[in-house]
């Protein structure tokens, strides 16, 4: 038994009661909305290309890539409380990186460019974290958000001024990505590839965020100062999740570059960074699925509105976003998801408990 228990050891029957599965499953009994929602969305996404017209499938592919980008922002903001307003820095840097790889070195194999883009995002985020997060004392939210925003702005400006990077026009006509000898052009094939990558990264993120590491992140988000007094090195925790998020943004940036066939400075700049913030706020942060839903709805709405209300659609979209943020500050997801399920719980599974029991 732990050293903390000495002295007031509760009577054995009380300990037994605490260990019993009844108590442990007190939470397990509640209905879970999240898995149902995730499954329903996955099914809908899987059959979408079969029923959608081709040009819409192409648009939907772009939306899925942006969903991946939104996940990267949810990871830092929704889970760790780091307000990164420069998320596009990693998205765009990776996009430019893979564009150069294919333009100057003829490398377009997915097995080379996707890992390369992910690595570029990871390293860029780690470098920025070195400046912004890894001081001896924790840095303030404002410092980090302004720092990340400045990073994105500077990258945008640098790219605009660089002849090598194509200046204002960016890098056009990137050759298509290849799998073996097969060329991936936009359409259902590309769609399913992106969907598979999105699902994979979603599941990996979910695994990490529901682990004890996720609990530490929740502590970070709720009260950074408090958990420092437990002995957590909050700066390291932040840098790690920031770098992971950069890697995900990098993966989505490289997919984006190959899907669109060109990269341009907007991919690096503040516009793209703000967009991803809106997706996540709209859908609801800190749930992963909220980021996906937010992206899909915002992008879907823009698509439909711009077709039907050609002149005023941005205003309609803006008002809708404001309404959601005003009346549903926790995002659309809070319509169906209670707080307990949103925050989650981190105790061990029954199996883990049984293994721990002497």
């Amino acid at each position: 038994m732990s050293s903390t228990g000495t002295g007031t050891q509760p009577p054995p029957h009380v300990i037994e009661a605490a260990r019993s599965p009844v108590m442990a499953s007190a939470i397990a009994g509640r209905t879970k909305v999240l898995p149902i929602l995730e499954l329903a969305l996955l099914i809908a996404a899987s059959i979408a290309p079969l029923v959608l017209r081709d040009y819409i499938t192409v648009y939907a592919t772009r939306v899925l890539i942006l969903c991946l980008f939104a996940l990267s922002f949810d990871l830092v903001w929704g889970y760790a409380g780091i307000l990164s307003l420069g998320q596009s820095l990693f998205f765009g840097t990776a996009g430019y990186g893979v564009a150069l790889l294919s333009r100057d070195f003829g490398v377009a194999s997915i097995f080379a460019v996707l890992p390369a883009g992910t690595l570029i995002g990871f390293v860029a985020a780690l470098l920025l974290a070195g400046f912004l997060l890894l001081g001896r004392h924790p840095s303030s939210v404002v410092f980090v958000s302004l720092g990340t925003m400045t990073g994105a702005y500077a990258a945008d400006r640098l790219a605009r001024g660089s002849h090598y990077l194509g200046g204002q026009n960016g890098i056009p006509s990137i050759p298509p990505m290849t799998i073996g000898s097969h060329e991936l052009s936009e359409g259902p094939g590309f769609y399913y590839l992106v969907l598979a990558i999105l699902v994979l990264i979603y599941l990996l993120s979910r695994f990490l965020l529901r682990s004890q590491f996720g609990l530490a992140l929740a502590g970070l988000r709720e009260n950074e100062q408090r958990i420092a007094f437990f002995g957590y090195n909050v700066q390291h925790l932040k840098a790690i999740i920031f770098a992971i998020s950069g890697a995900i943004a990098g993966a989505s940036g490289s997919l984006y570059a190959f899907h669109e066939g060109f990269v341009w400075t907007n991919m690096l700049g503040v516009v793209m960074s703000t967009q991803v913030v809106l997706y996540v706020l709209f859908g609801g942060s800190g749930t992963l699925i909220g980021a996906v839903i937010g992206t899909a709805i915002v992008e879907g709405l823009s698509f439909w509105l711009s077709d039907n209300y050609r002149d005023i659609w941005p205003i309609i979209l803006g008002v809708l976003l404001l309404l959601v943020i005003l009346f549903r500050p926790l995002g659309l997801i809070s319509l169906v998801l209670g707080e307990r399920e949103r925050v989650g719980h981190f105790g061990p599974s029954l199996k883990e408990k049984r293994n721990a029991a002497p």
């Binding site: 002295g7 001896r136 004890q212 590491f213 609990l215 958990i227």
Partner: protein, 244 residues
């Protein structure tokens, strides 16, 4: 050699001198009360001990190591734990997760990422919750607890770090008489493995559980000694009479 030794601690905020050469010495398994009128510098001294503030002058030694400029996480890893004056439980997490969060602070990042220590820590979490009479609420959000229960949860979290020294800033603030009595009971067994520095307004409570007292007044130590010595001390009586 005492467990904790603070000497010549001064803390200046702009023109305000909150602490002026205060000193404190706490032995192994000693319960040490820190008392004094409002504004005498008790909380500031606590914060200097815990690392929330860095003293302007002076030195804090903990287990023979100079910890004056160590950050809070470094002090926590050295065996020091703090319960804040204002309750700082994590309101949206369950009680269980609040305790687990404190307990797992020493696990490696890899263990955290693969959840390798939570099975092992389960019993410790439940023991602490039982010890602080919170086990039946284990899976409720901490926000749903009463004020007194939140204080207990905080003490449980502070103890979960397995400290050699626990710093408690007003643990009974806002508690009912009955809750205070229970808090005293809950703290007693800690003595077997841990020292305590406690800031508290309730003098009866302090008298009941502390071995030694240090009285601060205007940032200086007015008196320090056993409870009996302090009770007999003229100048201490005076400041408390003056206040009454």
């Amino acid at each position: 050699m005492p467990l904790l030794e603070a000497a010549g601690i001064s803390k200046v905020f702009g023109k305000l001198t909150a602490l002026d050469g205060a000193a404190l010495s706490v032995g192994e398994r000693e319960f040490h009360g820190l008392i004094g009128p409002n504004g005498s510098g008790k909380s500031t001294l606590m914060k200097c001990l815990a690392g929330a503030l860095v003293p302007t002058r002076g030195k804090v030694t903990f287990i023979n190591t100079d910890v004056t400029s160590l950050t809070p996480p470094e002090r926590a890893r050295a065996g020091m734990s703090l319960k804040f004056q204002i309750t700082a439980v994590l309101p949206t997490l369950t009680l269980y997760d609040n305790i687990l969060l404190a307990l797992q602070a020493r696990s490696s990042l890899l263990d955290l990422a693969f959840s390798r220590s939570r099975g092992r820590l389960h019993e410790e979490v439940m023991t602490l919750l039982l010890q602080f009479r919170l086990a039946d609420r284990a899976f409720d959000a901490a926000a749903t607890l009463s004020h007194g229960q939140q204080q207990w949860l905080e003490i449980a979290m502070a103890l979960a770090c397995r400290p050699r020294l626990l710093l408690l800033d007003e643990p009974t603030g806002g508690m009912s008489l009955e809750e205070r009595r229970v808090t005293g009971e809950l703290l007693q067994p800690i003595k077997q493995h841990c020292s305590l520095v406690i800031v508290e307004h309730d003098l009866d409570f302090i008298r009941d559980i502390c071995d030694r007292l240090t009285v601060l007044d205007q940032g200086k130590v007015l008196a320090s000694g056993t409870v009996a010595e302090i009770q007999a001390n003229r100048s201490v009586q005076e400041i408390y009479l003056r206040r009454a």
